[in-house]
């Protein structure tokens, strides 16, 4: 609207055409925006409201309680436990995904035959349904007849009762998460490896750098933007992990695999506490928003100065 011109100066036809184009724009993008307003933005605002009422989904009234739900949540050691468990789950899952992903990418970047087949195998779990992956793994973790018990038996160990042992349940979920999501990191790393200029390697070789030095001084720095992108997106995906947890452990045993997302589901659809669910939704949103902003900032910086 900055370049406003008085009507008389324009040809009336141009103006009408312009208006028609505005209308068409609104018509084209309207349905998408409408759906977002109803099913994305409205829920976001409504969560803010819900987080300040007490409601069980049934009662006709929703008494306003101000910040009480927040105070209750933050003074509940269980809530802090859940945040801590979310952090543990995220740090291990993302860490393992990034490190193992890098190792696999370096391997599958070598001039080996059939490496494209290997890449396909590594990536395949990414497109599988998380729920079914979890169903399959619950058989693999079966303490008596499962695959892992079998493999541990080879080296003379007894399998723990993975999914119902408070110590092993979280590692089990992390193992499945990494198995399912590592392929994504591998593919992103591989693309990043291709983007490192060949000349850098040649120059390093001329300078007498060995394979290890080339890795430290050329490959790793060259991959750092990709690794940063991956770590942020992986953290965001990890925060949203639901199906694996619902199917493998249902948040148990004794709560040890309950993360924020699972807690939100549990509050909303198991214990029917809309107010507390609202609090968790807002907390989760703010954490993820902060991460996204970090990511956007970083990308902007790269575009501007890189």
């Amino acid at each position: 609207m900055a370049t406003y011109t008085p009507h008389q100066e324009r040809h009336p036809n141009t103006l009408r055409r312009e208006h028609r184009e505005w209308l068409l724009f609104a018509l084209f993008i309207g349905p998408n925006l409408l759906l977002f307003s109803v099913f994305t933005y409205w829920p976001l605002l409504y969560n803010v409201y819900l987080s300040m009422v007490r409601w069980d989904f049934l009662r006709p009234t929703m008494p306003f309680v101000g910040l009480q739900n927040y105070i209750a949540a933050f003074s509940d050691p269980r809530f802090w436990n859940i945040i801590w468990q979310t952090a543990t789950f995220t740090v291990w899952s993302v860490g393992l995904t990034l490190v193992l992903g890098l190792m696999l990418a370096l391997l599958l970047n070598q001039p080996l035959r059939y490496r494209n087949t290997a890449r396909a195998v590594v990536f395949a779990p990414v497109v599988m349904s998380g729920a079914v992956v979890a169903v399959v793994w619950s058989y693999i973790f079966d303490p008596r007849y499962g695959l892992i018990d079998q493999l541990l038996g080879f080296i003379g160990f007894d399998s723990p009762n993975w999914l119902s042992d408070p110590f092993w349940a979280m590692p089990a979920v992390i193992i499945v998460y990494v198995w399912k999501n590592m392929g994504y990191a591998v593919v992103i790393y591989l693309a990043g490896l291709q983007n490192i200029p060949r000349e850098l390697y040649d120059a390093a070789r001329v300078d007498g750098a060995g394979a290890w030095e080339r890795f430290w001084n050329v490959t790793l720095p060259g991959l750092s933007p990709v690794a940063f992108f991956l770590s942020v997106t992986s953290i965001l995906t990890c925060f949203q992990a639901f199906d694996l947890i619902r199917v493998l452990t249902n948040g148990g045993p004794a709560d040890v695999t309950t993360t924020l997302v699972f807690h939100l589901y549990e509050l909303g659809f198991v214990s029917y506490d809309a107010g507390k669910a609202g609090v968790v939704a807002i907390v989760l949103f703010l954490i993820m928003l902060a991460l996204t902003i970090v990511q956007i900032r970083y990308i902007e910086q790269r575009v501007t100065y890189g």
């Binding site: 312009e18 184009e21 068409l24 724009f25 084209f28 993008i29 998408n32 925006l33 977002f36 109803v38 099913f39 409205w42 829920p43 976001l44 409504y46 819900l50 070598q110 001039p111 080996l112 490496r115 087949t117 290997a118 396909a120 590594v122 990536f123 395949a124 497109v127 599988m128 349904s129 998380g130 729920a131 079914v132 979890a134 169903v135 399959v136 619950s138 693999i140 079966d142 695959l147 079998q150 038996g153 994504y184 593919v187 992103i188 693309a191 291709q194 992108f229 997106t233 639901f242 199906d243 619902r246 939100l264 589901y265 659809f269 669910a277 609202g278 939704a281 996204t292 990308i299 575009v303």
Partner: protein
């Protein structure tokens, strides 16, 4: 976008060997192949295990030591799974929600991307931002309010209740907008001179040219709708409205632990179509999922 192309280009010169390989390099290569085999085995083992169990007799699954190959391969688990849960109905529900869910996303993305790329509008930047911001609101935090909305609309346990709350699309819109902006100006100008309206330009000029991007986007939508779990779990409450992932989950809850063969057969009902699709369209799927990652 260029990910796979670059990967392939980088592969070319390697295969042209002129000199015999030095011994140390040969040793490295053997280590490389060994590592690759280990990786493929470790990642493939759970799927192998699933397939084997699906073909084992129940007695065999529950006898020790565990066998790596079915002693008496049987197909009995498949009809048993089909009867233990209404898989015909699950397939139908999954097909309907995936088809209409993905179709809605593709159509909305096509029109939105066209508007963003070519149509004039005051404060278009704001509209752009509004769509971009939607990417920052994870679906998970909307479940309670959306459940209430869908309940108010009377859509609980209906197809529209499963499909419509997830029909809006931001990521795909940006993916297509990017592709649309790369269409040469002269082509669009020529179409306009010929008197083509915006609908004609979109469907007979822009869409055919950007078909690979549209296919990629559509595949992404299909995969995510087919695998969707949280929302259909919440919004359906009878067996006959469940989609495949929910169905397999409940099958595990009722038959699992005592009847793994049937549960694994049921899992294959879901996994096999996805793996076939992945093999056929691997490149487009990988490209779509990784687009925007490396170029930043």
């Amino acid at each position: 976008m260029a990910v796979t192309n670059e990967i392939e280009r980088a592969m070319k010169p390697v295969n042209v060997r002129r000199r015999p390989i030095p011994l140390s390099l040969l040793a490295w290569r053997i280590v490389g192949y060994a590592a690759m085999i280990v990786v493929v085995v470790i990642i493939g083992l759970p799927v192998y295990w699933t397939v084997m169990a699906a073909f084992k007799e129940t007695r065999e699954i529950y006898s020790l030591p565990v066998t790596w190959w079915p002693a008496k391969p049987t197909l009995a688990n498949f009809p048993a799974a089909w009867q233990a849960a209404p898989f015909g109905r699950y397939y139908l529900n999954s097909f309907i929600t995936t088809f209409f869910g993905a179709a809605a996303e593709v159509i909305l993305a096509l029109f939105s991307a066209y508007a963003l790329a070519y149509l004039r509008f005051p404060r278009k930047d704001l509209v752009f931002l509004l769509l971009l911001a939607a990417l920052m609101v994870p679906v998970e935090i909307t479940i309670v309010p959306n459940y209430l909305t869908v309940a108010r609309l009377g859509w609980i346990n209906t197809y529209q209740g499963i499909i419509i709350p997830g029909a809006a699309i931001a990521y795909g819109t940006f993916l297509l907008r990017q592709a649309f902006l790369a269409v040469p100006h002269e082509i669009l100008e020529a179409a306009r001179v010929d008197g083509a309206g915006h609908f004609r330009i979109l469907f007979s000029v822009v869409a055919p040219i950007t078909q690979p991007a549209i296919v990629t986007m559509a595949l992404l939508s299909v995969v995510s709708k087919w695998n969707d779990f949280l929302w259909p779990l919440i919004v359906t409450n009878t067996t006959d409205m469940r989609t495949l992932p929910i169905g397999v989950f409940w099958l595990r809850n009722s038959e699992g632990f005592s009847n793994w063969g049937v549960v694994m057969a049921g899992s294959l009902f879901l996994i096999v179509p996805v793996l076939i699709g992945f093999l056929l369209a691997q490149r487009a799927i990988v490209e779509g999922m990784t687009a925007g990652a490396v170029k930043g």
